[in-house]
Symmetry: C2
Subunit: 251 residues, 2 copies
């Protein structure tokens, strides 16, 4: 629609960055001209969502909502990165997903959030009361299809994550993760081959089912192989994307 893209992640310190509208991207399940992800919301729908929403901001490491908490709101990320995790009975933490701009946040079950959501960077989002959203969806069949589409998209992604994470070794998992991050952070960026890692090694390790040491070693391997270059612990330079995709077994 408009250039909500330029804000997705980093943004030069602007005087008053204007807020992009609510945004839901997905690959439609029906055949379409564009085989990639597309904006599913029309301007009217964006306006309708804005009408029931409030823009909220979270600082780094803030809990957006807790696991088990009463689920009253759904969030549409505007900028920043978040993670969701569950706490196991034995106290361990299990990262279940990372969320980027235009992602939806607030999956619930029986009126309770199924995981804790936490901001990994400063984060802004549209906060939509669940009830209002339900009313809106019930009234606008097209909007409803939008959410169906998005959920299908997420489901496919989740299945792919499972399949690839489960069968590959550490190097392949990390390569795949880097590529996923890279695509998620895609913007109208000058330098297209830089990836920032807003999360800790621990979070990556947990998400991929590895130890933090294994992450380090895999990064070392990829660097030695000339596929990437580490620029400090939170930034990577992609040197050979073709090889990265092969390492991730995407090809």
């Amino acid at each position: 629609m408009d250039k909500d893209n330029d804000l997705t992640i980093r943004q030069p310190v602007a005087a008053k960055p204007k807020i992009p509208p609510p945004s839901i991207f997905a690959k439609p399940f029906a055949r379409s001209t564009d085989p990639g992800v597309v904006q599913l919301l029309t301007e009217d729908e964006q306006a309708a969502l804005i009408a029931i929403s409030r823009v909220v901001e979270f600082r780094r490491h803030t809990v957006i909502y807790p696991e088990g908490g009463r689920s009253r709101f759904v969030y549409n990320v505007i900028s920043g990165v978040a993670e969701t995790y569950c706490l196991l009975p034995d106290g361990e933490r299990r990262v279940s997903s990372f969320l980027f701009p235009s992602d939806l946040l607030g999956l619930s079950e029986n009126g309770e959030y199924v995981a804790t959501a936490q901001a990994l960077t400063p984060l802004t989002a549209y906060k939509m009361p669940f009830e209002d959203l339900a009313r809106l969806v019930r009234r606008d069949p097209d909007l409803d299809v939008v959410f169906l589409c998005k959920l299908c998209h997420e489901l496919r992604q989740a299945e792919r994550h499972t399949v690839t994470a489960i069968h590959n070794d550490a190097r392949a998992r990390v390569a795949g993760f880097i590529l996923w991050l890279w695509r998620s952070e895609v913007t109208a960026l000058t330098d297209d081959t830089t990836v920032t890692l807003p999360m800790l090694r621990h979070d990556i390790a947990d998400y991929l089912g590895l130890s933090t040491e294994a992450i380090s070693r895999a990064l070392h391997q990829l660097e030695t192989g000339g596929l990437i270059q580490r620029r400090g612990p939170r930034a990577l330079q992609l040197l050979n994307i073709q090889e990265l995709r092969r390492a991730a077994r995407e090809i």
Copy 2:
């Protein structure tokens, strides 16, 4: 139609088992009195779905639809078990899910099925033309919410599968898988502690990210520990469900 049931989900041999209506179970995301899975379809909605559906049957090992094929239909399983899998570039097969009665089948992307679906047992299903279903959903906002609910449910399940499969050892994965199967096969059963494994070890192994040998060894461990008893390669008796849950790290 016929009594394919006694294989997968046993049902007393009735002369003419009447076909159960379309069925979608899920835990609602909104708070409800019943915290478990509930039937989301009203009788009217079931009738509407029947009106656009055809009941189809598949024999064991039949392909229901192929990966990459034009996605024209969505299926609602009535009886039997199916699996979906993708073929990797190197020819390997990746099982992405198992489907049971009342599950939905036919996830697509850009008009194409994202995986091959195959019957593991004789299977019957409602076959719904995608276009008709879309029309129906667009007209009936409640039905629409049903599908949203079901998709959320599937998404949660997928995330749980990932989280548990990735972090646990072979024994825990198999224990969790057995419990999942057990719950999926729940019917008005006489013997509540029997689980049938309609799929090959290879399929289980692939789904859990293990080798067939690891599955065998894990079953052996569980049997030695007195948690289960093998009754031939396709049936298990659950001896200690409490311990099984602990083994699966559910507690």
